[in-house]
C-alpha cells in the first residue's frame, strides 16, 4: 500500500476514534437539555433549561460545589507554594540525595489513588481527624504537589541559573533573588501549576471517596452518590457545567503554555 493511502485510511480511523472519545460527552450535554423527567434525549428537539434551574435550587449540589471550590483553591495555593519552592530546590541544587527527593515529590502520582486514600483515611481515623476540612486539605495537597513540581520544575530547567547568580553577586538577598528574579521568570508556569492543581483537586474522586465524610462531601462525591441512587437528568446538568469548565481549562492552558508545545520536542 502507498503511504498516501495508508495516511488516508488512518485519517478515517482517527475520525472514528474522535467520535468514540466525544460520544459519551455529547450525549451527556444533549440529555441535560431534556424537558422530560427521565434520562433521555430531548424528544423532537424540544430543549429545556429546567434541569439547570433545578440544579441551582438544589442545596446539596450548591453546597458541595462551594465546598469543592473552597477546597481546591486552598489546596492549590498550598501545593503551589510548596511545589514552587520544592521544584526550585530540586532543579537548582545538586544534592547528594536529589534523586530520592525527586522520587518522593512525584510518588503520590505513581501509587494507586485507592492505596493513598485508604492509607490517609486509616491515618486520619487514628489521629481523630475524620471528616474534617483539614484532613481533606492535607489529602488534596499531597495529591496535587506532583503536578506543580512537574510543570514548574520543567519550566525552571529552561531558565539559566546565571540570572540568579548575577543578582546574588550584585548584592540581592535570597528573598530578592526569589521574588524579583526567579518567580517573574517562571510566572506563567506557576500560574499553570496552580490551575492544574486546582483542576486535579476539584475533579478528584478516588482519594476523596475514602477520606470524605458527611460534612466534607465534595461535588464529585455528591455526583458519585447521586449516580448510584437516583436516575434523573440533574446529574447531566452538573456534568454539562463541568464539561464547559474542562473546555475552558483547555483554552486557558493553550493560551498560557501552548499545550501542544509540551508534547513536541523542541525544534
Amino acid at each position: 500500500m502507498k503511504a498516501a493511502s495508508v495516511q488516508r485510511a488512518l485519517g478515517v480511523f482517527n475520525m472514528l476514534v474522535v467520535l468514540f472519545i466525544a460520544a459519551p460527552l455529547l450525549f451527556v450535554v444533549a440529555v441535560a437539555f431534556t424537558p422530560t423527567e427521565r434520562l433521555a434525549l430531548p424528544p423532537g428537539g424540544q430543549l429545556s433549561l429546567r434541569w439547570f434551574e433545578a440544579l441551582i435550587h438544589n442545596q446539596g449540589f450548591v453546597k458541595a460545589f462551594i465546598r469543592s471550590c473552597y477546597l481546591a483553591v486552598s489546596a492549590a495555593s498550598i501545593s503551589t507554594t510548596i511545589g514552587v519552592l520544592g521544584a526550585f530546590g530540586i532543579v537548582r541544587h545538586k544534592f547528594k540525595y536529589r534523586n530520592i527527593l525527586e522520587t518522593l515529590f512525584i510518588s503520590p502520582l505513581t501509587i494507586p489513588a485507592a492505596v493513598l486514600g485508604l492509607a490517609l483515611l486509616q491515618f486520619f481515623l487514628f489521629l481523630g481527624w475524620y471528616d474534617r476540612f483539614v484532613s481533606m486539605l492535607a489529602a488534596h495537597v499531597v495529591v496535587t504537589i506532583p503536578y506543580v513540581i512537574r510543570v514548574v520544575g520543567g519550566s525552571l530547567q529552561g531558565v539559566d541559573e546565571q540570572y540568579e547568580l548575577a543578582a546574588q553577586n550584585l548584592g540581592a538577598t535570597w528573598f530578592q533573588v526569589l521574588s524579583r528574579v526567579t518567580v517573574p521568570l517562571i510566572r506563567t508556569a506557576i500560574l499553570a501549576g496552580f490551575l492544574f492543581a486546582f483542576l486535579i483537586s476539584f475533579d478528584n474522586v478516588t482519594v476523596s471517596m475514602f477520606v470524605a465524610g458527611m460534612n466534607t462531601e465534595t461535588l464529585p462525591i455528591r455526583m458519585f452518590n447521586h449516580v448510584q441512587d437516583i436516575n434523573d437528568p440533574l446529574i447531566a446538568a452538573v456534568s454539562t457545567a463541568l464539561i464547559l469548565l474542562a473546555v475552558g481549562a483547555v483554552v486557558v492552558f493553550e493560551q498560557l503554555l501552548g499545550l501542544q508545545k509540551l508534547f513536541r520536542p523542541t525544534e
Binding site: 459519551p24 450525549f27 451527556v28 520544592g86 493513598l116 485508604l118 499531597v142 501542544q260
Partner: protein, 299 residues
C-alpha cells in the same frame, strides 16, 4: 580549577546550597507526614490480626492477610481480573494510540494541534462525568444497545454495562490519550532523513516502517503502555460505575474491605499488594531502559 574560586564566591555558593535545602523542607515535611507515615501505618496494620468482635490486635504480627489475598479464590480472582482488564486495556490503547500517533506525526501542524487538543479535552473532564456518559450509552436500554437492536443483529440487549466489557470501554476511553501522546511525541521527534535514507537504500515503505520507524518508536510505546497499565491497575470509579458490584477490581476490593467491612488489616494488605504490583511494573520498565536488547534504542 574549582578549588581556586575566590573565598567570597565559595561562601555565596554555600549560602545558596543552604537556601535550596531550606526550600525543599516544607514539601518534605508535608509528604513525610501525610504520605510516607500513612503508608507505613497501613503497612504495619496489614500484619495485625483482625476479628469482628475485638477489632485490630496490635500486639501480634501475622502474614494471614497476605496469604488469604494470594490463595483464597475470591480475592485471587479479583487480582487476576484486574491484571487481565489492565492488559487488555493497555493492548487496545497502544494499538489504537499507535495508529493515531502515526497519523498525527505525518500530518500538518494544524491538524496535529486540532486533534491533540480534541483528545486532551476529555482528560480535563471529571472521570465521574465520563463514567456517567457511558452509562447513558451502555445501559441495557442505553443508546448503544438501541442502535444495535435497531440493526437487527441481535434480539436482546447486549451486556455492555455491568460487565468486564463495560469496564474495558470506560478505561480505554479514559486512558487512550496517554498512549497517543507518548507515541506521537516519539514519532514526531524522529529525523525524517532516516526514512529517506532507508528508501534510498532500496527499502520498501513497509520495510522502512518495520526496520526503522517502529524500532525507534518503541520507547514511546513502552512509556505509553506503562502509564496506561498502571492507571488501569488502580482504576476505581470506572469499575464501580460500569462494572457494578459483580465485577470489582483491586481498588474496589480494598475499599469494600476497609471502608465497608471495616477490616483495616485485610484492606491494607490488598492495598499494599496493589501498590507493590504497580511499583514493580514501573521499576521493571526503568530496568528495561537501562539494559536489555532495547538499550541502543533508548540512548
Amino acid at each position: 580549577m574549582f578549588n581556586k574560586k575566590p573565598n567570597r564566591l565559595r561562601k555565596a555558593y554555600a549560602i545558596r546550597r543552604l537556601i535550596h535545602f531550606v526550600y525543599v523542607l516544607p514539601g518534605v515535611a508535608i509528604l513525610l507526614l501525610f504520605f510516607v507515615t500513612p503508608l507505613a501505618h497501613t503497612l504495619k496494620n496489614s500484619f495485625h490480626p483482625f476479628s469482628r468482635t475485638r477489632g485490630v490486635d496490635a500486639s501480634v504480627l501475622i502474614l494471614d492477610h497476605y496469604i488469604k489475598m494470594l490463595t483464597d479464590p475470591y480475592y485471587l480472582n479479583i487480582l487476576i481480573r484486574t491484571l487481565r482488564i489492565s492488559l487488555i486495556v493497555t493492548l487496545i490503547c497502544v494499538v489504537v494510540g499507535y495508529a493515531i500517533g502515526y497519523y498525527l506525526a505525518n500530518s500538518s501542524r494544524r491538524v496535529q494541534s486540532i486533534f491533540i487538543l480534541t483528545y486532551l479535552t476529555p482528560w480535563f473532564v471529571s472521570i465521574i462525568v465520563k463514567a456517567f456518559g457511558w452509562t447513558l450509552l451502555l445501559a441495557p436500554h442505553g443508546y448503544a444497545n438501541k442502535i444495535i437492536l435497531w440493526t437487527g443483529i441481535v434480539k436482546s440487549p447486549l451486556p455492555l454495562m455491568w460487565s468486564e466489557l463495560g469496564i474495558v470501554i470506560g478505561l480505554v476511553h479514559g486512558f487512550l490519550i496517554f498512549a497517543i501522546l507518548a507515541i506521537f511525541t516519539c514519532l514526531v521527534g524522529q529525523d525524517p532523513a532516516l526514512r529517506s535514507a532507508a528508501a534510498n537504500l532500496g527499502a520498501s515503505e513497509w520495510q522502512t516502517f518495520r526496520k526503522v520507524t517502529l524500532p525507534l518508536s518503541l520507547p514511546g510505546v513502552l512509556v505509553g503502555s506503562v502509564i496506561v497499565f498502571t492507571l488501569s491497575m488502580s482504576a476505581f470509579v470506572t469499575p464501580t460505575v460500569l462494572g457494578g458490584r459483580r465485577f470489582p477490581m483491586m481498588s474496589n476490593l480494598a475499599y469494600n474491605q476497609s471502608v465497608v467491612m471495616l477490616n483495616w488489616p485485610l484492606g491494607g494488605a490488598i492495598a499494599i499488594v496493589l501498590m507493590l504490583l504497580t511499583v514493580a511494573v514501573v521499576l521493571g520498565y526503568q530496568r528495561l531502559i537501562v539494559m536489555g536488547k532495547w538499550k541502543v534504542v533508548f540512548q
